[in-house]
């Protein structure tokens, strides 16, 4: 709870009210306690108050039950990460108390359910303990047979009081969430909330007010990365998709299944991963650029068909919400270890596009970019996110939907003649003529996975194979030439440059801030286009003594990680080194800082 700027006396007069810039709240319990719901409410409230917000959660891979946490950071300045350490820890059980006290700042507040938690003597002096019988008070507030269901909402009331949150807005959010056919559900929720709000813990001597943000322009929307991808695809005009359930990709599939019918589209749940990529390719071939997606092993299963899409030059969006691997691995943990399979997965030379959004807002806009690249270059596009971005809730400026939404219905205007794999095409880019289009010279194209001549008919000619390989490569090189160089965060010359990709942008930037505040010369770039890479990175690298590639994957046999290896291969520069970890958790700022220091030899 940094920067308590001023203290004002509250209307009650008894308690101290501090004005603060930001707060990090960690809620720990079991997954069925609905702690994600409390976090979600706080995040949405922050979004509606035009504050910056960022969340982080872990879910167990049990079906229901098991320890679970949700961390939310709300601030009036720029919020880049969900925060290393919490200011407030709300814990429901002894295991949540003992397991998470270490994530609390010294002198932080621990709010615990005294029905389940017995505080430990040795921690009493380090942390400000506030015990409230949350379970029994919830039962008292709701009554009946509800047991302690609703203690999450009771706790939300407690937090609302502590941080002087906007009650009418929260009530409205509760109404949206619980308002339905059964009025008693909403009434119970409101009863629990108000009981929590009315509880005045005598040992909380302080309440807080988060200062309003000054700079926000326009309205904000609050959503998580998976939602942003789903709606981004809809805005991009995608009207067909196919998939199979696998964590954490499933949310996107469920969203599209639910939403696409409104736009006249369909999302099909298939019998397996191979069927889903095949069905999506069928739709793309038929003229409706389609999406498929998966996580972990599901991606491995799709690789043969993705190779076909490269060969047949078919547009396709493949969402990969990465998780810990190999094999079944760690389904609910964060890892960036699918870069290699995204770029190279499958047999043969099969160049394809790989994009990696840096934050939730990016998920929305890059989904549109992915679709447009796929359509223009007739190539599969991999979209790499991970659990860290998929379930992270962020607020961002509302997109101008009228402007960004596009119509990509197939154009079936007859053409005079068509060579689907025309070797004379500029940059190797040929259009895809969809079935239903009349071709006046009577020569029709075959989409094929066999090496082929310009009409798509099989050819075993060595010369044709070389020329077609070059065609498939050249179109991606042409795309690479159009990509903008990433902006440098910090000065363009200095000692250390951190290079990141995907969901790690926030902690890397905060690490840079922390270094610069301490007088160290550190800058960062973030790569969002990973394959092809933009041209000219060498000019950025030349301004620094060290280039450290920060990734959440194993350092590999040669100690430089997956993106690091690619950058080494392209630039043959030994100053490119890897900073890697595979603990399945988001980067903490202090971890990056420590590893950079160790690597740079300071």
């Amino acid at each position: 709870m940094s920067n308590a700027t001023e203290a004002v006396s509250s209307s009650g007069g008894a308690q101290k009210v501090s004005r603060i810039n930001e707060v990090v709240i960690r809620i720990a319990g079991n997954s069925q306690d609905g702690i994600q719901a409390i976090g979600g409410f706080l995040a949405r409230l922050a979004g509606r108050s035009e504050q910056e917000v960022m969340t982080f959660m872990t879910i167990p891979s049990t079906i229901s039950g098991g320890p679970s946490i949700f961390q939310v950071r709300v601030g009036s300045g720029e919020v880049l990460t969900a925060g290393d350490d919490a200011d407030v820890l709300l814990c429901f059980y002894q295991h949540s108390y003992e397991g998470h006290i270490n994530s609390l700042k010294k002198k932080g507040i621990v709010l615990y359910d005294s029905d389940h938690v017995v505080p430990k003597e040795e921690w009493l002096s380090d942390y400000h303990h506030v015990g409230i019988p949350i379970s029994s008070l919830t039962v008292e507030a709701i009554g009946g047979t509800a047991k302690d269901k609703g203690k999450n909402i009771y706790s939300l009331g407690l937090i609302a009081r502590m941080f002087d949150l906007n009650v009418p807005k929260l009530e409205k959010l509760l109404g949206e969430r619980f308002g339905g056919k059964d009025v008693s559900i909403l009434n119970n929720a409101l009863a629990a909330f108000h009981a929590g709000y009315a509880n005045s813990p005598s040992n909380v001597v302080e309440t807080f007010q988060i200062t309003d943000s000054q700079k926000k322009d326009g309205h904000q929307v609050v959503m998580n990365g998976n939602e942003a991808i789903g709606y981004g695809l809809i805005a991009a005009g995608v009207r067909f998709g196919a998939g199979y359930p696998i964590t954490p990709w499933t949310d996107i599939m469920e969203l599209l299944r639910r939403e696409l019918p409104k736009y006249g589209g369909s999302f099909i749940q298939c019998e397996d991963e191979i069927a889903s990529v095949s069905m999506a390719l069928g739709a793309s071939y038929a003229g409706r650029v389609a999406v498929t997606g998966s996580s972990g092993p599901g991606i491995s299963l799709k690789t043969e068909a993705i190779g076909w899409a490269v060969m047949a030059e078919m547009p396709l969006i493949v969402i990969n919400v990465q998780r810990g691997g190999p094999s079944t691995g760690m389904p609910t943990n964060i890892e960036q270890s699918d870069l290699n399979i995204a770029i190279n997965g499958g047999h043969g030379d099969a160049p394809r596009v790989v994009l990696a959004p840096a934050n939730v807002e990016d998920c929305f806009y890059m989904a549109i970019e992915a679709v447009n690249i796929a359509r223009k270059y007739n190539t599969p596009v991999f979209f790499l996110t991970d659990q860290g971005i998929a379930t992270r809730i962020e607020a961002f400026t509302e997109p101008n939907l009228e402007k960004v939404c596009q119509d990509i219905s197939p154009d079936l205007t007859p053409v005079a003649s068509h060579k689907p794999y025309d070797l004379a095409a500029k940059d190797g880019v040929t259009p895809h003529v969809k079935p239903g289009t009349r071709i006046l010279d009577g020569k029709y194209p075959i989409a094929t996975g066999l090496e082929h001549d310009e009409y798509g008919h099989p050819s075993g000619s060595p010369k044709v194979h070389m020329l077609q390989n070059a065609k498939r490569r050249k179109k991606l090189q042409a795309l690479g030439a159009t990509l903008p160089l990433p902006k440098i965060y910090g000065p363009s010359e200095g000692n250390i440059l951190l290079v990141g990709w995907g969901s790690t942008e926030g902690p890397i930037r905060e690490a840079v801030d922390r270094f610069r505040a301490a007088g160290d010369s550190v800058s960062a770039i973030h790569l969002r286009h990973v394959n092809p890479l933009p041209n000219g990175l060498e000019n950025i690298f030349s301004g620094f003594n060290h280039v450290f590639v920060v990734e959440m994957n194993d350092e590999g046999l040669y100690g430089i990680g997956q993106l690091g290896t690619i950058l080494r291969a392209r630039y043959a520069d030994a100053k490119i080194q890897g900073i890697n970890k595979t603990d399945g958790l988001t980067w903490k700022v202090k971890e990056i800082v420590e590893l950079v220091k160790a690597k740079a030899g300071k």
Binding site: S61, T62, I63, S64, G65, G66, Y244, P245, I246, T247, T250, M253, E254, R257, R258, P261, Q269, E271, D272, E273, P297, G298, S327, T328
Partner: protein
């Protein structure tokens, strides 16, 4: 005498209790999940069979039910999604002495792994395939499965399913399976019995277990409902050797909950394993000693 009976005689001298086959791991299943009962039934069946835990390989894929090998004491193999059958067949062919059990769910078994069922059935390798059919994807939190009924509302069919479900019993009958049974944890004795019989059956044995999902399942699919709805095939006088009748009854999957052995081929066809043994025996006569194999490639020959 099947290899199984033979090895049971030679290897297993001790008597086993059901508890000997339970492990110390605490299941991650939701309280009230039907799969708890399936573990119990399996361990009871194994106790009656009398093979020692080290002679048993228990293979599964991915899904709630596929966690089951972890909760039993035997050599467990939690494989990849949908592929438990090919892996189990490899195990059995490599070591025919092992008792091979395969556990799966409706998604693992009939959706992503559906292609393997036909081939496991027709190959007829002596393994026992137990599918815990809960008509939903539970582990990934409630999507439509291939056995979910038409009209069923789930997170991927918020407007109600528009697909006809797979009928596991008919589907396996259609492929030509020789042992097809159905049970429910609501009838533990019956379930243990058909599992035991499936293990003893020489050849591929298929057991569909209606194992309710308490979290995402529907009310009429819970154990309580099973208790009132289930009807034992024995009680209606069904003769399990009557293939035509069995097919007819199988078609009532989804409307009626029959328990017991639906079809048992009275003259079990020879298994793939037996074919392999015969083949080996035949080949032995013309076998070349190992050190002479390369002679065939020498120019002098």
């Amino acid at each position: 005498m099947t290899t199984l009976e033979a090895s049971a005689k030679t290897l297993s001298l001790t008597k086993f209790m059901a508890g000997d086959f339970k492990s110390d791991l605490k299941p991650i299943w939701c309280p009230g999940c039907g799969d708890f009962g399936v573990v119990t039934a399996i361990t009871r069946a194994l106790a009656n069979i009398g093979r020692a835990p080290h002679e048993i390989a228990f293979v599964s894929g991915i899904g709630c039910s596929s966690r089951i090998p972890g909760y039993t004491t035997a050599y467990g193999f939690n494989t990849v999604h949908g592929r438990s059958l090919p892996i189990a067949q490899g195990i059995k062919l490599a070591n025919p002495e092992l008792l091979v059990l395969v556990a799966s769910g409706d998604g693992d078994g009939f959706s992503i792994g559906g292609g393997h069922v036909a081939h496991a059935v027709r190959r007829n390798i002596d393994i026992t395939y137990i599918v815990m059919d809960n008509q939903i994807y539970g582990l990934t939190k409630g999507q439509l499965s291939p056995t979910s009924s038409r009209g069923r509302k789930t997170v991927t069919s918020s407007f109600g399913s528009i697909e006809d479900p797979v009928n596991p019993l008919l589907y396996v009958m259609g492929y030509g399976a020789s042992y097809v049974a159905q049970g429910t944890p609501a009838d533990m004795t019956g379930l243990a019995k058909i599992i035991e019989e499936g293990i003893r059956f020489p050849g591929f044995a298929f057991i569909n277990v209606q194992s309710p999902c308490v979290t995402y399942g529907m009310e009429d699919q819970q154990l309580k409902a099973h208790k009132t709805n289930m009807q034992s095939l024995e009680s209606i006088g069904h003769d399990p050797s009557d293939r035509a009748k069995a097919t007819e009854l199988a078609r009532e999957y989804g409307t009626k909950l029959y328990t017991g052995v639906l079809y048992r081929n009275p003259n079990p066809p020879s298994t793939y394993g037996q074919g392999v043994i015969e083949r080996h025996d035949a080949l032995k006569k013309s076998a070349v000693p190992r050190h002479e194999i390369l002679n065939r490639f020498k120019p002098s020959n």
